[in-house]
């Protein structure tokens, strides 16, 4: 089977879905002629033409707002926001429009839209090319929020997102775009939105992560395994709708939960996970629910020393695992 990077997997999903359904269009800044600043859409313009691969003006509200109009008129737009840090001008269109179209029209209209954006740090992107913004969207009912943890899932989940009748916000960790390769089948397959993947089995504690942190968490689990601590690692994959059953089943088994995310601590998606566990698996808990997250500072700095201080890493995660296992 071919091995692919995450960005290649994203590209393949776009290409195959455009070939499969002529209603699929791709739009965003530099997505056409340049093929995207991360090259996720390279070649699409040549294959599918300028009507379906659209280099837009520099205007994020405009990108999402026009994409919503396209979705309302029977296209299946996939909008790229160049960096998740620049999605804010589009928040009104995403949160007040896309998320509410089906509900406000009592089901008369739907909004089959995908908004893709690279997120996350560790690339010297500083305050405005490193952000994690998933918690903001996960709070808005009417949106689905997906973050693939592997190339295989990236392709399968993006296909599901494009075929979904509702708006899906799809974040790809940019540090992972070319970090490693994985077997990714050519041709069609989907991974359903809304299912957690058990990435590693274990009995001592449950660690939940997504994006780049999934890999750091798996690394850390290997480390502590050598010390006799068996961590069950869950790859969240979808924040909304949340696969509570898999999460609760794991915590019921291990009795301890560690939640890991790169986004800042207060009000991050880890809060929702912790609260859900505290409410629904309380009887099974054998220790406090730990959140290991980015620090509550406005954003990730550029300086290597400060960036390192901001970012989690396998060592910090392993330490948290040891502490919690000991509890």
């Amino acid at each position: 089977m071919p091995v692919k990077t995450l960005v290649e997997a994203v590209h393949d999903a776009l290409h195959e879905e455009m070939a499969r359904d002529e209603r699929v269009v791709v739009l965003g800044e530099d997505v056409g002629f340049k093929g995207g600043v991360f090259k996720a859409s390279v070649g699409l313009l040549d294959t599918f033409g300028a009507d379906r691969v659209l280099d837009t003006p520099l205007a994020e509200s405009g990108i999402v707002g026009t994409a919503i109009g396209m979705a309302l008129n029977d296209l299946r737009p996939v909008a790229e926001i160049q960096f998740a840090d620049f999605i804010h001008p589009a928040m009104d269109q995403i949160m007040n429009e896309a998320a509410k179209i089906r509900y406000r029209s009592n089901g008369d209209f739907g909004c089959p839209l995908v908004v893709r954006a690279p997120f996350g740090g560790g690339i010297h992107g500083a305050l405005y090319h490193s952000q994690s913004v998933e918690a903001l969207f996960a709070h808005i009912p009417g949106l689905k929020v997906v973050i693939p943890g592997t190339p295989y899932d990236a392709k399968g989940l993006l296909k599901s997102a494009i075929r979904d009748p509702d708006p899906v916000i799809f974040f790809e960790h940019k540090r992972m775009y070319r970090l490693f390769r994985q077997e990714v089948p050519d041709g069609d397959y989907t991974v359903p939105i809304g299912t957690v993947r058990v990435a590693r089995e274990g009995r001592d504690l449950t660690a939940i992560a997504y994006g780049l942190m999934l890999h750091y968490t798996l690394d850390a689990a290997e480390t502590v395994a050598r010390e006799g601590i068996e961590v069950e690692v869950l790859d969240l994959r979808t924040l909304v709708p949340l696969d509570k059953a898999t999460i609760l089943a794991s915590v019921e088994k291990t009795s301890k939960a560690l939640i890991v995310h790169e986004d800042t601590h207060t009000g991050g998606f880890g809060a929702e996970l912790a609260a859900t566990i505290a409410e629904d698996a309380f009887e099974y808990l054998d220790g406090p629910i730990r959140r290991l997250a980015g620090p509550d500072v406005p954003a990730m700095p550029f300086s290597t020393a400060l960036e390192d201080a901001f970012m989690l890493n396998p060592a910090k995660i392993a330490q948290a695992m040891r502490d919690l296992a000991k509890y």
């Binding site: 405009g62 707002g65 026009t66 109009g69 089906r102 406000r104 009592n106 089901g107 209209f109 009748p165």
Partner: protein, 340 residues
Amino acid sequence: MAPTVATERVASSADAGLAPDELRQIYREMLLTRLLDERMIQLNRAGKAPFVISCQGQEAAQIGAAFALDMTKDWLLPYYRDLGVCLHAGMTPVEVLLALFGKPADPSSGGRQMPAHYGSRRLRIVTGSSPVATQLLHAVGVAYAAKIRREESVAFTSCGEGSTSEGDFHEALNFAAIHRLPVIFFIENNHYAISLPAERQMAVPNVADRAAGYGLPGIAVDGSDPVATYAAMREAVARARGGDGPTLVEAKVARFQPHSGDDDDLYRTREEVAALRQHDPLASFRETLTARGLWDDTQETTLRAQYRAEIDAADEFAESAPDADAATLFDHVFAMTNDE
């Protein structure tokens, strides 16, 4: 690049090709709009409807504009004041009143949205929200889809002059101009955005003056004249259908009522409002038609009685329609929940 024609009055020469029947039909729709609007204000004052927003003073612009569209293929993305536009598109007084009372049979939103948030796939009215100017971008996307499918359809979208200050207005016009999309931006300039007079909303006399900066034609028209509005819109529609891209049409109108049922209107003197009402587009179009022998008092009396009866019946029906079942609160969050 198409020229900017910023003029207060586009001559309605030769009725812009409208036949007497069509002129009368325009008047009828204006009248129905007015009478239904008045009823809604009464119901709000009587405490029967928690919210109302009036289009009085803007009927001529709305019906004149809507008449230039082809409702079998064009899309409407109106704003909250567009009662006239939506009635023209086929929304009925019953449907409007079902929304006023927040009843589940309301076709726009099943009683979920505030009144005047029109929408109906059947009538090609795209669901709208309260945040102003967002629909301009949707119209651009709707037009884009139509264009790449080589459909003949035009997207009509409207907003008030105040709403043109939002960034979305800028992004929409720019995008539409670059792609020469079949979209019409219809600006109903009633000179106020709640309390803010247009002179403090912008430093140019006409919203139409903005169009040139995007490379699209901007036309200002007397929105108290339905035929003039129709004429300007007809040109814009022809341009859109002919592949020549978007147009901004600005209708200068007056707002006879407070901004909404919640507004005290104290930022205008009663004299100012009374003066505006002296130029009631409904009354003056009636005079025009009467002077030309196309309308008379008997017709007026008959039609008013007919509409009153229709509105009475609609009111009774809508008021007594069943309320929403609380269990439906969770319907239509996602397609999977109940539909598809």
